[in-house]
């Protein structure tokens, strides 16, 4: 089956999911991102790789943080950036998703950055632009439903590579609401592609989808056992609407069993790093003393996020320099 994010030469045409990318391609993105990390530290924080290109931020679901990082990344590549909050405009007037895309493509968009509540929506858009608008239009998935958040997965890998250097000896644990998490899915694919020998997921049975074991993970329901000797802990955000209901009785009980406290973290390796995609619920999935502690790399993740988004956009649409 043709992977719709690759062109017929096997190059990246869109970034829709980490699933299906080769190790070489992932490493190329990470290497490119590493080259961009320094740009943000310069006096002039700009490179001209996307000069004259237009990046449309299409957020069908709100996310100030992710949208802002794409905006900063595009700006640092000298692109023009247009932010559209679709909830508030066309779809409320009954315009279909693909009509919206056609209209924006007619305004000469080069990159669509798409966030959508439905899993797979960026695939629909990518197939449509391939058919209707040609190979100069690219789609970046900025999070679709529970499916994928590939730039988050890549920035997590860049963070791990920065602090741990080599993937092939690591044990990584992903903790919390796996069922609803696109970050977890993207991280699981990326870690497996990069050769991490043991990827663990930790959480209650109600927050894990059936068929999870087939994705290449070891499943733990006991946090202390799951954290034993891990090198990296990735905490997931627990959405407030999941906290009190048929999946979980309360945030308090979740924190007691799966919240990351210094005591639980002590089961990991002493040099383990702690990550979180943000925004954090302090006291729900993570204790403040851990979030702000010496092992936390949550703020470097944000910095790496900009470099990764610059790398992806420049690889998709940049002038071949």
């Amino acid at each position: 089956m043709h992977n719709p994010q690759l062109n017929k030469h096997g190059e990246l045409q869109h970034l829709l999911s980490i699933d299906g990318l080769s190790r070489e391609l992932v490493v190329k993105i990470l290497d490119t991102a590493t080259g961009f990390v320094g740009v943000s530290d310069r006096d002039v924080k700009k490179v001209p790789l996307l000069r004259g290109k237009s990046v449309f931020n299409l957020f069908f679901e709100n996310s100030t943080r992710t949208r802002t990082t794409f905006e900063i990344a595009a700006t640092r590549l000298s692109a023009d950036i247009i932010n559209l909050n679709i909830n508030a405009s066309s779809t409320s007037k009954g315009e279909s998703l693909l009509d919206t895309i056609d209209n924006l493509a007619a305004m000469h968009a080069d990159i669509f950055v798409v966030r959508h509540a439905q899993s797979g929506a960026p695939y629909l858009i990518a197939r449509h632009v391939d058919r209707m608008h040609g190979p100069h239009v690219h789609v970046i998935n900025a999070g679709d439903g529970r499916h994928a958040h590939p730039t988050q997965g890549l920035l997590d890998m860049l963070t791990i590579r920065h602090f741990k250097r080599d993937f092939t000896g690591l044990t990584v644990a992903i903790v919390g609401d796996i069922l609803h998490s696109r970050v977890a899915r993207s991280d699981i694919h990326a870690l497996n592609i990069l050769g991490v020998p043991e990827v663990r997921v930790i959480g209650p049975r109600t927050l894990m989808p059936g068929g999870l074991a087939d994705m290449g993970v070891r499943i733990f329901h006991d946090m202390e056992a799951g954290l034993k000797n891990v090198d990296v802990v990735i905490m997931l955000r627990l959405q407030s609407e999941r906290m009190n209901g048929a999946l979980l009785p309360s945030a308090q009980e979740f924190f007691k069993n799966y919240g990351l406290t210094p005591e639980k973290l002590a089961h990991a390796r002493p040099d383990a790093i702690v990550m979180h995609p943000g925004p954090m619920n302090r006291g729900v999935e993570i204790d403040s003393s851990v979030a702000d502690g010496a092992q936390s790399v949550i703020l470097p993740q944000v910095t790496f996020g900009i470099a990764v988004r610059m790398a992806v956009m420049s690889l998709l649409a940049g002038a071949s320099a």
């Binding site: 279909s96 959508h116 899993s119 994928a148 696109r182 989808p209 059936g210 068929g211 087939d214």
Partner: protein, 434 residues
């Protein structure tokens, strides 16, 4: 008018007849079967050398979308599609808009279908008013108007007391209840079968439990009431096991599967292809194998098309929002014979699941070839492969997971009550055999 079909390979699954014969059609009935029937003057003679003559297909589920959903399909378009698919009798579920919960609606539908003169339409009445699962419909009146059973389509009854009463009431009037095995809560909102594919794509999922829990409840109600039950669209190995045991116990239970589910599995969804958004969802290869085995061992009575025309606007949206369903009337024969080929099954055996078995199940005089039987027949070119495409389908519904497939066997002509109701241009251009 008399018509003599000569030299066809006549295949009748009900009797096991499979030989090259001449068939004389007179006054809407099959008048004679023989090796050298004589053509009286004025008889139209069709030379069907190289073709199969089989009973017209009986499809246990085809949505015609009238009344109320004419933007998806109309009776005209779908009854033509039925004939092009060799389907001469079909059962339509009651989930129209409004649902078929009043005798006048059923009478109107039957009358319109009759006036169009295509396939014969056998409606299922709504089991509850508005399919809302609260109040029973006037089943006796609806049966008199032409309903052959009572169904909720894909909308489960939440209140088990109502369901018990519906079984009791249907039993009072000797009616069959048709239910899809769906629990009202388990898997609600799901769009793909629980498993590795749904986990990977992050799609809300439908566990097998929805089917097994529903079946366990249904069978208890059948035991309590003695009501006849037809289970519409089994999808899982575990569900088929439950049905097998219920039948062994002697419960009055029949069931069908859709032609999509004898071929496809969840992995075929690929990258969110909405043509594969079906209800029930496609399940694992193990489940598909169990469906095939359940057909062979007689647990499953029939293969239906589950024809559900959907407009493009309801498919060209994200997978989770897309409407479930696929066009199917014109694929039923080919998909059944494709299964027979893949399983090295005698086509005569495979044809039973789309002709005699479903016809017997709904108690109509159809689905067989014999003297005195209504001449609802289908001529098939077994060697013609055809490519499924928008252009090759007469149905207004063009969406199918089999788009682009090369399928075996093409319907050359269809007779309804002795009249040649459909013929391909190639068939119509054949020289007259007289």
């Amino acid at each position: 008018m008399k018509c003599l079909v000569r030299n066809a390979r006549v295949m009748d699954p009900a009797s096991g007849l499979d030989e090259t014969l001449d068939v004389l059609i007179d006054d809407g009935l099959i008048a004679a079967l023989g090796s050298s029937a004589l053509a009286a003057p004025g008889t139209r003679v069709i030379d069907a050398r190289g073709l199969w003559l089989i009973p017209g297909l009986c499809d246990l589920s085809a949505r015609l979308r009238e009344p109320g959903l004419e933007h998806k399909a109309t009776l005209e378009s779908e009854l033509q599609a039925a004939l092009a698919g060799g389907v001469t009798s079909l059962v339509c579920p009651p989930d129209t808009d409004p649902p078929l919960d009043e005798p006048a609606l059923v009478e109107m539908l039957k009358r319109r279908a009759q006036s169009l003169g295509g396939a014969k339409v056998y409606p299922l009445g709504a089991l509850t008013v508005g399919l809302a699962g609260e109040a029973l419909t006037e089943m006796a009146e609806l049966a008199e108007a032409g309903c052959i059973g009572f169904s909720q389509a894909n909308r489960p009854v939440v209140n088990t007391t109502v369901l018990l009463r519906a079984f009791d009431y249907a039993r009072t009037f000797d009616q069959t209840v048709w239910l899809a095995p769906i629990d009202a809560h388990l898997g609600r909102g799901g769009v793909a079968a629980s498993g590795a594919l749904a986990a990977r794509l992050g799609l809300p999922s439908v566990p097998v439990l929805t089917e097994t829990v529903a079946l366990a409840t249904f069978f208890e109600l059948v035991r309590a009431t003695g009501c006849r039950l037809h289970i519409a669209r089994l999808s899982s190995a575990a569900g088929i096991d439950l049905v097998r045991r219920a039948r062994a116990e002697g419960l009055p239970v029949t069931c069908d599967v859709s032609a999509n589910h004898i071929h496809l599995i969840d992995l075929d969804i690929g990258y969110f292809d909405t043509n594969f958004r079906l209800d029930p969802p496609l399940r694992s290869q193990r489940d598909r194998d169990a469906i095939r085995a359940g057909l062979i061992d007689g647990t499953i009575d029939a293969i239906c098309s589950d024809h559900t025309p959907v407009d493009d606007d309801a498919k060209q949206i994200p997978f989770g929002e897309a409407e479930a369903g696929a066009t199917g009337l014109e694929l039923l024969l080919s998909l059944t014979l494709k299964w027979a080929q893949e399983s090295s099954l005698d086509p005569l055996v495979a044809l039973r699941y789309i002709t005699s078995s479903p016809a017997q199940l709904i108690g109509i005089a159809a689905g067989t070839i014999g003297v005195g039987v209504p001449a609802d027949l289908c001529l098939v070119d077994p060697h013609a492969f055809w490519k499924v495409s928008h252009a090759s389908l007469k149905s207004q519904g063009k969406n199918t997971p089999f788009e682009g497939y090369e399928l075996p066997a093409r319907v050359a002509a269809t007779f309804v009550a002795g009249q040649l109701a459909f013929a391909t241009p190639e068939f119509a251009a054949r020289p007259d055999g007289s």
